[in-house]
């Protein structure tokens, strides 16, 4: 099986290049990450992130044949050869398939992704009805792999000012939470031509999300909430 992998070591390479690798038949790899680990045995200078190898940690997000995804849950038999692997688009490359996600995390922090509730802390837990809890389904599962935000052209053009689909999904996750008391503050912080309204609903985010979540829908909910506030 043939692979073309993006290589770049800023300390030794003047510019990035694609390197060809091949795995013999009967290599036994099922998922793309298995293949990458076998390739790393051929050339241990190949660098990529991985940890849980089952789509929970979000470390091995990369651009696979032009589409962002997690190597560990991408079956090899679904991929056309040569399998071309590049780092997540639009992010500064640290080395090979490893990108600097500082900007992505900074935007995540901007939406204050934690529960804000000024009531005295209860003895055991803050209760929700099953219906209230159900509203968080499809939101809390985000693993922050950055596949969505780095597939978003608006995030490519304005990564410093547009929050990006991942952060906006989390913004909605806390707006939708019945236990959160900072709805007004959160909406105030989102109502901005750049932070929220750079989204033009092209839905690349929803298309690539390896967890099957819908950031585009979450952004729509935030807009509805802003609309209801002024109507």
């Amino acid at each position: 099986m043939k692979f073309r992998i993006y290589r770049y070591n800023p300390q030794t390479d003047a510019k990035p290049y694609l390197q060809d690798f091949e795995l013999e038949d009967g290599h036994g790899a099922v998922m793309l990450l298995d293949a990458l680990l076998l390739i790393k045995r051929q050339d241990d200078s190949l660098s990529f992130r991985r940890s849980c190898r089952e789509g929970v940690c979000g470390s091995d997000a990369m651009n696979i044949n032009g589409r962002n995804g997690l190597a560990c849950i991408t079956p090899l038999h679904t991929l056309a050869e040569p399998v071309t692997l590049r780092p997540l688009p639009g992010m500064p490359v640290i080395r090979d398939l490893i990108v600097d996600l500082s900007q992505f995390y900074r935007q995540y922090r901007e939406v204050r992704p934690w529960l804000i509730n000024d009531d005295p802390e209860p003895e055991i837990e803050r209760l929700q009805t099953p219906e209230e809890r159900a509203r968080l389904d499809g939101l809390y599962e985000c693993i922050l792999c950055a596949c969505c935000s780095t597939a978003c052209p608006s995030f490519w053009w304005n990564p410093d000012r547009f929050l990006g689909p991942a952060a906006l999904l989390q913004a909605w996750r806390f707006l939708a939470d019945s236990r959160d008391q900072a709805t007004g503050m959160r909406l105030d912080a989102l109502e901005d031509p750049y932070r929220l309204f750079r989204c033009h609903t092209i839905m690349n985010c929803t298309d690539v999300c390896p967890k099957g979540l819908n950031p585009s829908g979450a952004i729509g909910h935030i807009r509805q909430m802003l609309l209801k506030r002024v109507l």
């Binding site: 500064p92 600097d100 500082s102 900007q103 900074r106 935007q107 901007e110 052209p153 608006s154 053009w157 304005n158 990564p159 410093d160 000012r161 105030d188 912080a189 989102l190 109502e191 901005d192 031509p193 750049y194 932070r195 929220l196 309204f197 750079r198 033009h200 807009r223 802003l226 609309l227 002024v230």
Partner: protein, 118 residues
């Protein structure tokens, strides 16, 4: 390295977003209604056109149409500039040029709609 500018929120953007959708609905509706009208009741000759374009309802709906198109274009073009033009002076120049052009087009369109036969 890119650094985020935590300048807070501008507390706007919703108005443009609503206007963009409202004007889109009016433009689409106007075009469909106009087309249907011309199919059902075709205007026969020059006098017919004069009479039709002289009606206040036609002029008011056409005025709303051109105003909607200009607002829609203004918001849309500004959005494109915000996406792609990151040099402040360049963006400002292009935004002003667009505003002047759209204002000119609107003036022209309204002169046509309210001009002859009024």
């Amino acid at each position: 390295m890119i650094v985020s500018r935590p300048a807070g929120s501008a507390h706007r953007g919703l108005g443009e977003w609503i206007l963009q959708r409202l004007t889109a609905i009016y433009i689409a509706g106007y075009v469909v209604v106009l087309a249907l009208h011309w199919i059902i009741a075709p205007v026969a000759d020059y006098d017919g056109w004069r009479q039709w374009t002289g009606a206040v309802s036609v002029r008011v709906s056409a005025t709303l149409f051109f105003v909607s198109v200009v607002i829609h274009a203004w918001i849309g073009m500004r959005s494109v500039y915000m996406d792609y033009l990151h040099t402040l002076w360049l963006r400002l120049a292009v935004v002003i040029a667009t505003a002047v052009m759209l204002a000119g087009l609107l003036t022209w369109a309204l002169a046509v709609v309210w001009g002859a036969g009024a």
